[in-house]
Symmetry: C2
Subunit: 230 residues, 2 copies
DNA sequence: ACCTGAACACCGTTCAAGT
DNA sequence: ACCTGAACACCGTTCAAGT
């Protein structure tokens, strides 16, 4: 410590804007849209570790407790973020007609969006669609595409769920470290696995997560495509 | 408050065994195996919400800080639990010969084990195999089965990763609430999706998560099986 | 080396008080 | 209705002191 002034140090620059005084402001300063975009921005800058209710409040220049007038919990904020991100998933190709290519476009973009947001996956995976309007809109577009492609009605939801499950798991795989399959000192006792890892590494142009995703997705397309009547 | 004694109330019964006094005990009271099985038991009783380092220490009758002589973090405990659980995944059928049936047995048991432990999925999905010996042993058994079934070496790891990604996503799906696909007030604006959900519900014998898992797994088996040379 | 006990630096959330 | 500020009931983790 050298030459500290008597004023407490402000780690966020020369002067955080002074907060308003207590009491209801003339116009509300917060709403769900503002909270959602501030959350998305904060997550982008600080990651999910840095995403706390206190940090979110700071970027919005309010007290943490003010957030609870607009959301009921931190999980609620994550739901808003999740639904917003879903609008970036590409479902446009389902209108065009080629079912296989539509699923490809959808699945790759879906994985790419959420591979940067894996902490949301436990939230999405069990969230009632009624709580996420944009997510519901995505399902409508995808279901319509499956229906037009000739899928029997009772197989449409299971097929979508199956592909989605594959996408969620694959989104985690994107974030795996490069050495995830390094057997280390155990290599000698795992000859088949070690050999397979070795042979994959020798190919080694594309990212392993992309190779696995393409392989699984094309297998699902082939297997599920057989269900179509059209 | 009625008739409180001067002694502080003990919420855990008449008398928690008195702790030992400070200083190194004659024999160590903790080890990784004991921590792992206590953790598994605690998770079974209190769920992952109730699984805290303090609660874990209490079941082991030690101070929370004592745990850090044997593990470096809470995540470390989760890794130990994850690896232990993996030994309950059934890989025995890979020795028998029928590749399709072996993958079925493996995948269903893998999903069933971790559907009760979804908070471990973010841990498993990115954990280097070198840090989890039982998990590595599972990969060895599975790789050997794929190899014997005639898979080209460089496709074995991607195929396993793809199936595993599907399993992880499907494990979450098992925990989804029954009303997850209820469109609520939006039903009118999502006709294709709502109709598909309706038709699935009319079938309605098997659990939706099981229907989706079977459909996806069989599609993967069909699609991936085509890669075999044998 | 391996315990205890106290302390640290956080969390998310609640709630009275203010306008 | 919608803010502030203080408080609550926790967290995981560190570390000096003890044997």
């Amino acid at each position: 410590m050298t030459a500290a002034t008597s004023a407490p140090a402000d780690p966020h620059g020369p002067a955080a804007r002074p907060r308003r005084r207590a009491g209801r402001p003339a116009a509300a300063v917060l709403d769900q849209n503002g909270i959602t975009s501030a959350a998305l921005q904060l997550i982008g800058k600080s990651g999910y570790d840095g995403f706390t209710m206190a940090a979110l409040a700071r970027t919005l220049n309010v007290a943490p407790s003010a957030l609870y007038n607009h959301v009921s919990s931190k999980r609620d904020v994550l739901v808003l973020v999740q639904d917003h991100l879903t609008s970036f998933v590409d479902v446009t190709a389902f209108e065009a007609g080629d079912w296989e290519q539509a699923v490809r476009d959808w699945a790759w973009s879906y994985r790419d969006v959420f591979s940067k947001h894996t902490p949301l996956i436990p939230v999405i995976a069990v969230l009632p669609v009624a709580d996420a309007p944009k997510t519901l809109a995505m399902y409508e577009a995808v279901s319509a595409g499956f229906s037009r492609a000739g899928f029997p009605q009772e197989r449409i939801v299971p097929a979508i769920v199956a592909i989605e499950s594959f996408i969620f798991g694959s989104a985690y795989d994107v974030t795996a470290p490069a050495d995830i399959f390094d057997s280390g000192t155990m290599a000698a006792s795992t000859p088949h696995f070690t050999a397979a890892v070795q042979r994959l590494a020798e190919e080694g142009h594309e990212k392993p997560a992309d190779v696995a995703f393409r392989l699984g997705l094309e297998a699902l397309l082939a297997g599920l495509g057989a269900l179509r009547a059209a």
